[in-house]
Symmetry: C2
């Protein structure tokens, strides 16, 4: 039996995930990739109206190797909320437009975040960033095309009532008050767009929480909700997914900050230590490594508890929350 990925790094206050479950989450994510990646590729088979260079850049950005966490959240949320007498495969099919749409939004946000005018990154998922592999104009336009593609997929692939509600949910998550607003605030301190910055550690954590809730958390939550909406989840199920998503989002970001502080470029496939180099606030620098790790594990436990009422079909989501804070991958 392999060592527990949580306790092998640091004793944690949260429940440790047995190693075999850790293994099964990795396998479950692999199943998600096997399911969604051919469907993503088929969605990105553009016709002659799309210039070849643009089509190539979009495929480069979306089909780059990735964990497909957001599609997994959408598919597993559908599985957790769908009618129990139906084949889980039906729930996955119903949630496929949702899974593809959220991945398109995620891919666009990475392409634009990496731009020279933004984070100016050269490496992403182990390969040159889109503007390095192509050029800056193509990267901007690649992101610009991925946004409406996400809404097209939802509007074309779902019953009207579900499509309308899904478009609204995704639009809010991708908008000025969420994803884009979070990115603006994330840049605000280093660009001098704000005159006062949070001073105490508590204020700094609150500031980071506010950014992360919008910059990354909102799209996690939308992924879950879109998956739920695809199988006509009820209000209580959507609320359970929302509670899961809020805790999961912060847990994910803390884990990401820890990896950024500890990881190597080779292992991560992107530049590491960049937050510290820029003097950006991160959870480990503000709270310390051990406290950050403790909070991540507590949030994972909170996320898992939130979906417990959804029963056994939600076990994947609970396991994912524990896995995400234990990952060194």
């Amino acid at each position: 039996m392999a060592s527990c990925p949580v306790t092998s790094r640091e004793p944690a206050s949260a429940t440790c995930l047995p190693a075999d479950q850790g293994g099964s989450i990795a396998a479950a994510l692999e199943s998600v990739r096997d399911f969604i990646e051919p469907r993503l590729a088929a969605t990105l088979a553009f016709d002659d109206e799309t210039p070849p260079r643009l089509a190539e850049a979009i495929r480069y950005a979306v089909l780059a190797p990735g964990k497909r966490l957001r599609p997994a959240l959408a598919l597993w949320a559908a599985q957790a909320c769908g009618a129990p007498h139906r084949d889980p495969a039906d729930h996955w099919e119903a949630a496929t437009p949702a899974a593809i749409a959220v991945e398109c939004i995620h891919a666009y946000s990475l392409v634009h975040d990496d731009l020279p005018a933004m984070d100016d990154d050269d490496l992403r998922r182990g390969r040159p960033t889109c503007h390095r592999a192509f050029d800056e104009a193509t990267a901007i336009l690649c992101g610009d095309a991925l946004q409406p593609l996400a809404f097209e997929i939802l509007a074309a692939g779902m019953p009207a009532a579900v499509a309308a509600r899904s478009c609204l949910t995704l639009a809010r998550a991708a908008g000025a008050a969420a994803l884009v607003g979070g990115q603006v605030d994330d840049l605000a301190a280093e660009r001098g767009w704000i005159t006062t910055t949070p001073a105490t550690a508590a204020e700094q954590v609150a500031w980071m929480d506010r950014i992360n809730r919008r910059k990354t958390g909102a799209l996690f939550l939308a992924s879950l909700h879109l998956g739920g909406l695809a199988v006509e989840a009820d209000a209580a199920q959507l609320e359970a997914l929302a509670r899961f998503g809020r805790a999961f989002g912060v847990a994910f970001q803390i884990a990401d900050d820890l990896l950024d502080a500890e990881g190597t470029e080779a292992a991560m496939g992107k530049r590491v230590g960049k937050d510290a180099q820029r003097g950006k606030l991160t959870y480990p620098t503000v709270a310390g490594m051990a406290a950050a790790r403790d909070r991540a594990h507590n949030l994972a436990a909170e996320a898992a508890a939130a979906v417990a009422p959804l029963g056994e079909p939600a076990a994947r989501l609970a396991a994912l929350a524990h896995w995400i804070v234990a990952r060194d991958h």
Copy 2:
């Protein structure tokens, strides 16, 4: 009586618009602005979740003085297709989300087109472009936030069936095969993204038509269709609007090229002559001024004929097509 704006410039093969109708179109566009601009401003009253700098950039981009052609197309299409016994004001209210959504997409496309990596323009609508008034990152993010806002407005403001179809229509018009693809092809020759360029005048006109159909025409057509969908237009009405939109789009672009070739920066509120400076193809440089102007007038007549079956409520659209090719404004 003022001189006819068409014949005062050049004898045209198309029907001349009587001067009083020309006057009434300017007044009608003024009415559209009076109607839509307060509603646009109200839509852009963001709450605390949107960073103030981002909110300011979005308002700067959208609320800049403009003709509001796309909102006019949406509102007038609704008026042309709506049930005749209803108050036209009801049709305008129904089409308001459509009118606001298409203006948001238009504003985003201008902000991104003006970026240094794209057309690198300093002046737009008589004021510094968004990235000059703010900065490049803010301009990118401003455009990024306007796209989902358009879909949010449609999804939140219309009955589900209309919202879903409207989101699909707008998403396709804003996507890789339309607006973004057209912009890519528009940059392709000067950036060396294509190895063969059209050689004969006929091939060059076909190439420009293909770009314009997607870069500007698709959003005009979507504006019309969204207006029609808002009042539940039938298939024949939507087809009439489509025929109008296709002719209108090319007529508009030829008129724009003529203004770019002839106009002054002070009158236009943006840099002029830039297409020629960059060696970009334009209708007047390929076909000659007189032939370009003739084609524009013929297309305006074609557009007007397309909406004739919709009867008197479509007269505004027909008049707009004639006005757009006669404008020196």
